[in-house]
Symmetry: C2
Subunit: 352 residues, 2 copies
């Protein structure tokens, strides 16, 4: 049995009994019932994932930034040069990127994994080199990668999740870096949600009207060439996805298999979560949507997965930034359930 099959087989349905106990406990805390809104649902879901109420506070946390390049970059879908992927990996390793600053703010560890960067990278102990291939092939020409490569990249993500959990991390956050990766994301989202390409394609990190129209047409050509089948998620991923999407799908599956909450970042993570959800529907119950990205495909993805984002700040950066910003909110949700007094214990009178 492959690592992937083994991982899928070991993902258990979340614990509905623990969720029910958490829901009842929320109503006994010294606050009006329901007054913590969305945080109450998060605390209940954390109980379901961890099979205990109150759930442990999800800490320490680690964000895994999977970096890879995209052959479709050659089609002119972004004004950013491809070399920026490698340059930003160097920036992560130096601690100078937004993800690093946010991780310091919220007390999260940063892991940087090369799963498929095309350019030269600095030698660093902090960089995990697990390159499957130096960038994907242009999906308008052939499949972005072979099925074996897609599966190998998924397994990189599974392994990273497992290693982080073995090291004591109790909360996994998704991060990503890859110039042109919103193009592959839109292709995956159109495939798995059934939305039209134009409805799920955005302007990424900032493109003009002409590039935007080209981006849509490039995605349409790739989908026409491959006719990716959503019922064959690995095949679809190989045809039109990115190596970081594959690794992120594995990371989600790996976290779910270990019973650890996975906080999703934005549209790249969302596209990967669609793949993971087709491989193992129960995996979605271990996911928390960190934020709602400004990309239109992300809202479509969250709706499809029935996930409700915590932070909505018009972010469109990636790197794990939205997941990192939501981490204190997720931890707060668990802490409230664990630490707040009940009406009985605090001697507070309930409403008439």
């Amino acid at each position: 049995m492959s690592t992937l099959e083994d991982t899928i087989g070991s993902i258990a349905a979340v614990d509905k009994t623990a969720a029910e106990v958490a829901r009842e406990r929320q109503d006994r805390l010294t606050k009006p019932a329901g007054s913590l809104g969305v945080l109450e649902e998060v605390s209940i879901r954390l109980s379901a994932m961890t099979r205990v109420c109150p759930p442990p506070i999800p800490e320490p946390a680690a964000v895994a930034i999977f970096a890879a390049d995209h052959g479709v970059h050659a089609q002119g879908v972004t004004p950013w040069p491809q070399e920026v992927t490698a340059q930003m990996v160097a920036n992560f390793l130096e601690g100078g990127a937004v993800a690093n600053a946010l991780a310091r703010q919220v007390g999260a560890e940063v892991s940087v994994i090369d799963v498929g960067v095309a350019g030269a990278l600095p030698v660093s102990d902090a960089l995990q080199v697990r390159k499957i291939r130096p960038g994907t092939v242009d999906m308008t020409v052939s499949t972005a990668m072979t099925r074996d490569e897609a599966e190998a990249a998924i397994e990189v993500g599974i392994e990273c999740a497992g290693e982080l959990v073995e090291s004591g991390f109790a909360c996994l956050l998704t991060g990503d870096m890859g110039i042109a990766n919103t193009t592959a994301s839109a292709a995956l989202i159109a495939t798995f949600t059934g939305h039209d390409v134009a409805d799920v394609t955005g302007r990424g990190t900032g493109i003009d009207d002409e590039t935007y129209e080209r981006k849509i047409s490039v995605i349409r050509r790739a989908l026409a060439l491959h006719s990716p089948d959503p019922n064959d998620p690995v095949g679809a991923l190989a045809a039109i996805g990115g190596l970081e999407h594959a690794a992120l799908a594995g990371f989600i599956l790996g976290g779910a298999a270990r019973g650890v909450p996975v906080i999703l970042d934005g549209v790249i993570a969302g596209a990967a979560a669609l793949v993971a959800a087709r491989l193992a529907p129960d995996a979605v119950d271990y996911c928390i949507a960190g934020h709602r990205s400004a990309e239109p495909g992300h809202s479509a993805t969250l709706a499809y997965l029935n996930l409700h984002p915590l932070v909505d700040l018009e972010l469109r950066l990636g790197e794990g930034s939205g997941a990192l910003l939501s981490l204190p909110l997720v931890q707060a949700a668990a802490r409230v359930l664990a630490e707040v007094a009940t009406f009985d214990s605090a001697g507070v009178t309930e409403k008439n």
Copy 2:
């Protein structure tokens, strides 16, 4: 000159030059311009408030929970007994309330100030007893307090802000506790924004249709009795406000006078900010809206003050909970501006 007049006189306009420097620096950081959305604006506003770019990370932070009772409780505007105000103050002092758990999560100090609780309170070194009177008078019968009492309560807030800043706190968060205080808030919001009472009155911590209709009618009666004048903010506050609203207005003015960011919680803080804004319009530029409360009057208030909330999680608790949850986001905004590398410093290529 009174403490209030003195404080109003010492509130300086924020520094537009520092804001401009911050805006330019945001565009040099290694990320697509604008990709941090709302956080970029927060960092620019923090620079304006603190007159320097990058702004210091707003820490340590303290939440001041001003507690008071409301005579209008006698009109049956809430199903919660009035004694819950005092019981919740005891809960804060024991560390068992939601505000305490959230403060522990985000590393904020909790100050609890009795500015007008009606019931008996525990003796505790942690409680600041600055009671102006034991609850307001029922505003449907007479003014809620005298003008002198309103001004004295405002000065309690000014003094608390000053003491916290003197103790080294670089970020002030508003908190509140007072059964029936959404009623006084709606009366203040209707007065200062000009909205109809029904449009700005909500269900507070949870009331049925009959109580909701009564609440609206009670507020209408009070406004008809007093005809509060928004151009006489202290007079309006005395007529229909609460002692915690007065203290919070002073707290905002005190923070602004010291050049320290003030993170507002929900609808109670918003109503108090309307008073502060009439007394000193520049004070609003030192305010950050922590969250958007589920109360309809809060959205009207934020729109009126032109403040954009950071967190929108359908919270309707008060206590400072929304302000506390937003604190890491505010700190992250400052940290990004201070710590993220620029394109030049990191050797990252810019987009074509």
